[in-house]
Amino acid sequence: MVALNQLITLTRLTAVEAIRQPIFLLVTNACIVLTAVMPMVLLHQFGEEGKLARDSGLAFHFLFGLFYASYAACSSLAREIGSGTASAVLSKPVSRSEFLVSKFLGLALVIVAFSTCACVSTLMSERVAERLAVTSNAAGYVIDWQTGWLLVCAPFAAMGVAGLLNYYGRRPFVSTAFLVLIVLLLFVFGVSGWFDRSGNFSSFDLQVQWRIIPASILVTLALVVLCAIALSLSARLGTVATLLCCFGIFVLGLLSDYWFGGTDGRSAISALLYTLIPNWQHFWRADALAAGGLIPWSYVGRAFVYAGTYSAAVLILGILSFRTVDIR
């Protein structure tokens, strides 16, 4: 019970610390704005605008998320050790394994929060994309500009509100901006349902592709796995070395199917590497959504088990490594 309370306390602190880092807000805002702008510049794509907006949104989610997950994980531990807060915490009755696990859980929470923003943005971005609209006297391709601009403006509005709260209420700017952003995104998401593509008030209809959500969850699972890898590596390595290793693992994992995945004449080493290296292709299923396809929830469940097992295994290695590290 004591250990659980400590774990919750440390997890909460890690999450709060992570969302107060300016880079987190920067990455989240960049991801949302690019996701929002993409369908507004994609014109005349032979009816593929929706797919392109969806793929772009998921790709931004993946890329910005990968960068943030690896950077936050390795800098979080390195920063705590470098600034000495790790030694202050570990001089209390807190075990090193608890410390590392709480770091992971805190960062995983933040990744889920980031992914929520990215997922809502992708859902709205897909809605914004140009589509054929037919009225009683005309027909043509129409972009949902209203929703698009609402989405683009949401991060700036959130920063404006956070600035005011910082000025008048001394609230921390970065974390407040992020929390306001989540609320604003959900608000904009709800409000857009009351308007049709031409911007006219209509009965409530969100007109979104809910099947994007499983794809987005898969991307989130990939980010959590990379976070576990980066955190475990940073128990021994510095920030730059950890980032380089993460980049290497990311590339290997992306090409794992091609390099180590063949069944004919596959060597034992290839088989071992195929098993050990996380296969990012399992988490990138945007193509499955093309032509009205769906990602089955059973697949998401299996991916969840894979990501959970892989993260746990990597964290155990990280804990074993961290147990013998000198905290200076």
Partner: protein, 311 residues
């Protein structure tokens, strides 16, 4: 090197035997021998000062006591257990060398965070936080972020967090670094008050006056080795000399007294007016200026409230 015994202080709170710490580079080659075979004990209810210049191995020794660094050789036991064990650290309070705090938290949040790590009950935690904030004179700034604080204020937060669990053993690394004289006095008063309650303190410093004024025993380190050790009295007393303090006498009586002394000791006795030490003088000036907060009037009240056993 002879072991520094805890004298009449028992049981032992810290027991270090043949401690060696060698820092290695990336390839595991020895880089620095920061601590080189030191032995010392700390008994219950005493203040032991680790004294030495920068790089003498004080902080490394302290971090081995806390289980943050692993000894390359030798052993260390704190409160009868290895400091690697979580239970051993339940009764330790640690003030790091630099104020290692989460800058985005307020002092109240910081103390709450550390109180939770010790699993203090909410009611106890709340009352202790208020007492500690009062004791270190930060009640007025309890809800400002630590990142906005001066170094001295951060040290006060650091001291408060070290006391949040009412520890049996307090480990203070350069506790007065960056503090103004009144705050230094406050820290020293706190240490003495803790010892009166039977707590033990390991104090590391290179400020000689601080160590001399509060420590029962000294361990003087240089280049990772113990160069001198013993009680402050043993180390500093010149047993073959005497000084006498008495009221000033009229010139003719003084002349007669000096002549008598000269006849007995066969050399010219040194006669001078005793002087206050600069810290005492400075505190008197501040006190006269009527700034009770700076001189620690509120602080003493705070110590009393914290240490009266009701926390």
């Amino acid at each position: 090197m002879e072991t520094l015994n805890a004298g009449n202080y028992a049981p032992l709170m810290v027991e270090a035997k043949g401690l060696v710490k060698v820092f290695r580079d990336f390839w595991r080659r020895p880089k620095v021998r920061a601590v080189d075979g030191i032995d010392f004990n700390v008994g219950s209810g005493e203040i032991v000062g680790l004294l030495g210049p920068n790089g003498s191995g004080k902080s490394t020794t302290i971090k081995m006591l806390l289980g943050l660094l692993f000894p390359s050789e030798g052993s260390v036991r704190v409160l009868g257990e290895s400091p690697q064990r979580v239970t051993a650290r339940q009764q330790i309070g640690y003030l790091p060398e630099v104020s290692e705090l989460y800058l985005f938290l307020t002092p109240r949040e910081t103390l709450d965070f550390y109180g939770r790590l010790f699993d203090l009950k909410p009611k106890t935690r709340r009352s202790r936080i208020e007492q500690l904030l009062e004791m270190v004179g930060l009640t007025h700034a309890a809800d400002r972020q630590v990142g906005e604080f001066s170094m001295g204020m951060k040290r006060r937060v650091g001291l408060a967090q070290a006391l949040v669990n009412d520890p049996q053993l307090l480990v203070l690394d350069e506790p007065t670094a960056g503090l103004d004289p009144p705050a230094c006095r406050q820290v020293k008063d706190t240490m003495l008050a803790m010892v009166r309650r039977g707590k033990s303190i390991v104090l590391s410093s290179h400020l000689l006056a601080d160590v001399e004024s509060v420590c029962d025993r000294l361990v003087i380190l240089y280049n990772g080795r113990i160069r001198a050790q013993g009680s402050v009295k043993e180390l500093l007393t010149q047993s073959d000399r005497l000084s006498v303090t008495m009221p000033a006498l009229p010139p003719e009586k003084m002349k007669s007294l000096l002549q008598t002394l000269r006849d007995h000791i066969g050399e010219e006795p040194q006669v001078e007016h005793p002087s206050l030490d600069l810290e005492r003088f400075f505190l008197n000036v501040i006190e006269d200026a009527g700034d009770s907060q700076l001189t620690g009037a509120g602080h003493h009240e705070g110590i009393a409230r914290y240490l009266d056993g009701t926390q």
